[in-house]
Amino acid sequence: MNTVFAAVSRSLVSRTLGVALLAGVSLSAVAQTRVEDPWVRATVAGQPSSGAFMRITADTDSTLLSVTSPVAKDVQIHEMSMTNDVMRMGPVDAVPLPAGKTVALDPDGYHVMLMGLNGQIKEGDQVPLTLTVKNAKGETEVLNVSAPARAAMDMSHDHGMTH
């Protein structure tokens, strides 16, 4: 990340020092992909899969390539869509993360599917997730996130469906 920051800063310095300083400060704060409010839905005994949700913001046009987790044998990214009350679900290869735009992985759209769970995920468990993101320059960034498990009944994070 430092390399990217330095390169961008230098190009700005060549224009005006003041702008470079201001931009440098803000860049250093966002010069990476941010993951906010990650959570996983708790499961009942014997339930072999669950969903993980979060909000992702990348500073350059990036792509979420994959997610892995030690709690599941197979982790996929799925997209849900609703047309005339028919819910359609299916795997996607990647999720576009446009620069500066917060992309929600929530029950209304993209989400991470934890399939082939190694055990029950109980409320309050911390589920490690590793996200691989590729930025506009083709550089790969690996983000480690700990997502708390929330009760299936907890609707406080199911935005949209309950408006």
Binding site: P48, S50, D74, V86, G90, M113
Partner: protein, 202 residues
């Protein structure tokens, strides 16, 4: 049957307003005016089902006579719309207070190959201990889905599969007439208002 006849007799002695309100109870399909949901009173669909509950007992629509059944089709490995709909149903039931006790939430699996009775039972009861889950053979599942006009299909996902399916909640009145279709986009409060309309009729 006795209760049915008694109601008829009551209707005969009542004014027009009463007649209108009770008309649905004699099995006729008087259209209802719902604020949010879709009126299904005149649809030839969802007439009954014959499936097995998680204790292995065969259940039909008449097993829930006197209650207001609300049927939702889904599968336990569904990450989004199913838990959202069941959590909403639990919220509706609480919101309706005493009236909510007549609401019988029935979850019908469209994935009987993977949804065992044990997982189904634990799954629905985490939302509300009164919820029941029903399951059929592949043929029975196809039959009940067709009866309700419910679409479902397996979608390949790696070396396993996920599923697409209709996400409507179907509500019957206490006499077993299909009345109302609730979209997953509606709030618990909106659903509760329409459910009270069903209860006013029958």
């Amino acid at each position: 049957m006795n209760e049915f006849l008694t109601r008829r007799q009551v209707v005969t002695g009542m004014g027009l307003l009463g007649l209108g309100l009770l008309a649905g109870c004699d099995g006729s399909t008087t259209a209802l005016d719902f604020k949010y949901g879709k009126d299904l009173s005149n649809k030839i669909m969802g007439r009954t089902f014959k499936l097995t509950d998680t204790d292995g007992e065969v259940k039909t629509l008449s097993s829930y006579r006197g209650l207001m059944p609300m049927v939702f089709f889904g599968f336990t490995q569904c990450p989004a719309v199913c838990p959202t709909a069941l959590a909403r149903a639990a919220q509706i039931r609480k919101m309706m207070g005493e009236d909510g006790k007549t609401l019988q939430v029935i979850f019908i699996t469209v994935d009987p190959e993977r949804d065992t009775p044990q997982v189904l039972d634990a799954y629905v009861k985490q939302f509300d201990p009164t919820f029941v889950a029903l399951r059929g053979t592949l043929e029975e599942t196809a039959h009940v889905a067709k009866e309700f006009g419910v679409f479902y299909e397996k979608v390949p996902a790696g070396n396993t599969y996920t599923m697409s399916h209709t996400a409507t909640s179907f509500v019957f009145d206490s006499r077993g007439n299909l009345r109302l279709g609730l979209s997953p986009s509606l709030s618990a409060k909106q659903c509760a208002e329409d459910l009270l309309t069903v209860m006013e009729v029958c």
